[in-house]
């Protein structure tokens, strides 16, 4: 626990100091995107802690973005007001979706969130009078610092990373106290948890709503940061992208969410820059091939994520004999027993 606190303090200090060393607009923009993705991914990991996987995360991200953009454009409210308003509204939507969806077990819940995500995306494309359809929404009001001028890239950096670290801390607190113990019990066995008096459906709902609110918050900030939104970044593909980030970091590892978001975003940039040099003719979303293979390899060999996977691997090398409950082979069953 103290180690973790020290780690968090170190991270916060590093995040605060980083803009001193990073000056290019590109690097700053990349860090901002990582921060936004980290918020979404930590939400997904929070959900993973209750044994659930969602393919609707991009839809909640998009609803937050469209919600805040429409509120600020239509009603003329300040984005400082519409960001929390949109986040709260999306939390309400998640509650309504969760009521029937959370009654479904295992992969049926995944399917329900997938269906929800597809429907939300179709509505974004089709409700042209409201959403602008495929052309999206332009001229989204900027965030204003001190009510005068739009926030700069650097100011967004501090805003986004304050939110990201806050989200991380909150998620860590949720998963380390009473709720966290309840979630671990649910992850182990819903029936056993219920038998011990854990209110399974209440905790699952809380975590689901929280994960949607995380995504919506990131989406709302994204809308006022980029100031242009269209349906394509919120499609099923994006939900899979967030899932990859969560899986890279470990589906039940809160800190892993930050690591996964950073690793996959940087990898994405490297692939986009390097692959065309080797294969000049490929265009479009060819990097899906690499992500697909990555996803398969991680799920087969490191189902607990790359960070834990590396620790387990070193552990296995240091202790060649099987350690009770500690070998890599025992992990999937231990981690994901339904």
């Amino acid at each position: 626990m103290t180690w973790e606190r020290a780690g968090f303090a170190l991270l916060a200090a590093g995040v605060a100091a980083l803009p001193v060393f990073v000056s290019t607009a590109y690097a700053l923009a990349l860090l901002n995107i990582i921060g936004l993705y980290a918020i979404v991914t930590v939400g997904l990991v929070l959900l993973g802690c209750s044994g659930q996987v969602s393919l609707g995360q991009a839809a909640f991200y998009g609803l937050g973005a469209y919600g805040s953009a429409l509120l600020s454009r239509g009603l003329g409210w300040s984005p400082w007001l519409t960001i929390p308003a949109a986040t709260a509204a999306v939390a309400g939507v998640a509650y309504a979706v969760g009521l029937p969806a959370l009654r479904l077990a295992g992969h049926f819940f995944v399917l329900a969130t997938l269906g929800f995500g597809v429907i939300v995306n179709v509505l974004m494309v089709q409700l042209v009078p409201v959403t602008g359809g495929g052309n999206g929404l332009r001229d989204i009001p900027p965030l204003q610092i001190a009510g005068i001028r739009p926030a700069t890239e650097r100011q967004f950096y501090y805003l986004i990373w304050t939110l990201a670290l806050g989200a991380l801390l909150l998620a860590r607190n949720i998963t380390s106290h009473r709720t966290g113990r309840a979630l671990r019990a649910i992850l182990g066995s819903e029936v056993a948890a219920a038998a011990l008096g854990v209110e399974v459906s209440r905790y699952k709902m809380q975590v689901f709503v929280a994960s949607a609110a995380y995504a919506a918050l990131a989406g709302a900030v994204y809308a006022h940061y980029i100031r242009f939104i269209s349906p394509s970044p919120f499609a099923l593909y994006a939900s899979l992208f967030f899932l990859i980030m969560a899986v890279v970091g470990g589906l039940t590892n809160i800190w892993g969410g930050l690591f996964g978001a950073a690793a996959v975003t940087v990898l994405d940039q490297v692939i986009r820059a390097q692959v065309p040099r080797v294969f000049p003719r490929v265009g479009g979303e060819y990097q899906t091939a690499i992500y697909g293979v990555l996803l398969v390899v991680i799920m087969i060999f490191f189902p607990r994520g790359l960070v834990r996977g590396a620790i387990d691997l070193r552990h296995a090398q240091a202790h060649p004999l099987p350690v009770p409950g500690g070998t890599a082979d025992a992990e999937p069953a231990e981690e994901w027993r339904a």
Binding site: V53, P100, A101, R103, L104, G106, H107, F108, V110, L111, A112, L114, G115, F116, V118, I119, V122, L123, V125, Q126, L236, L240, L243, V247, F279, R281, V282, G283, G284, E285, Y286, Q287, T288, A289, I290, Y291, G292, V293, L294, L295, V296, M299, I300, P303, P332, A333, E335, W336, R337, A338
Partner: protein, 291 residues
């Protein structure tokens, strides 16, 4: 309006027969292994693109289709060996995520090999369209409906009348008990993936003369087939076929009467309704017991 309806029904039956094949592929893998194979649509995509390429190399259509189907069967078997088996025994959600990865990998590889341009196949038997009950039915649509019915019939004969078919059914019913009588669930899993790939290949090759083929056709096709399988009850083969026709008809009717853009949304609303109201699907079937 009255002239529109027969046309929409014919279109719905045509696409429905394609969805039925894809849905059967889902059901086959799910009942034997308990895995929802998200990459099912990619088998159709690969077969269509391989077939188009072989045709461009001046092979006759029949040979091209057979080679493409055989190649995709091999891809299905390889998928099982390389991606599914190494994770055997893992949580169903882990396996589901693996199939997402497989699907993304195939889509990306297809984009690298074939690019984003659409490919076409000629109709199997070119000729004027038929007029039926006030609607127009192109010849390829008859091929699609007839072939899918023939494949479904052949599959039912395989399961009902042959020893390997009985072994697959035994494994779907109880993997542990089938091991006790000498049936290897691993071999059945391999067989299920290979057969599912074959079903996907037939669907992909038959539909391409109508719709064309692109590297990203598998996602939409797989999702529709998947909705059909869920409507049918997931472990229920006749239900999946009915579900396929139902999804095809729903899609055609919403496209005709509502708006083309909402077809997908309505289909998925039906999926949610089925999931929320009755987990076993509209067509009641035996629920899969955990192996």
């Amino acid at each position: 309006m009255s002239t529109l309806l027969p046309q929409l029904l014919l279109t719905g039956l045509t696409t429905g027969s394609i969805y039925a094949l894809v849905a059967l592929g889902f059901v086959l893998i799910y009942s034997v292994t308990g895995i929802l194979n998200f990459a099912q649509g990619e088998f159709s995509m690969l077969s269509a693109l391989v077939c188009a390429t072989l045709l461009a190399w001046h092979l006759p259509l029949g040979a091209a289709a057979l080679i493409a189907a055989a190649a995709v069967c091999a891809v299905g078997a390889l998928t099982e060996r390389l991606a599914i088996r190494p994770a055997s025994g893992a949580h169903p959600l882990t396996l589901l995520i693996i199939t997402f990865g497989v699907s993304m990998a195939f889509r990306g590889i297809a984009l690298m090999l074939w690019g984003a341009d659409p490919y076409a196949l000629p109709e199997f038997t070119p000729g004027p369209a038929l007029v039926l009950l006030g609607g127009v039915l192109i010849r390829q649509a008859i091929w699609a409906i007839a072939l899918s019915l023939a494949v479904v019939a052949a599959l039912f004969v395989f399961f009902a009348r042959t020893v390997p078919g009985a072994a697959v059914r035994a494994c779907a019913d109880n993997a542990f008990a089938s091991r006790l009588v000498g049936i290897s669930p691993r071999r059945m899993s391999l067989l299920a993936f290979t057969l599912s790939a074959a079903l996907g290949a037939v669907a992909g090759i038959v539909m391409t003369p109508i719709t064309g083929a692109t590297y990203d056709m598998g996602l939409a096709l797989g999702l529709k087939g998947f909705v059909a399988a869920v409507i049918g009850g997931l472990a229920n083969a006749p239900g999946a076929v009915l579900g396929g026709y139902l999804v095809g008809l729903i899609e055609a009717l919403t496209t005709g009467y509502l708006s083309p853009g909402y077809g997908t949304a309505i289909t998925f609303l039906v999926l949610l309704a089925v999931l929320f109201l009755q987990r076993e699907g509209l067509v009641h079937g035996a629920r899969r017991r955990p192996a």
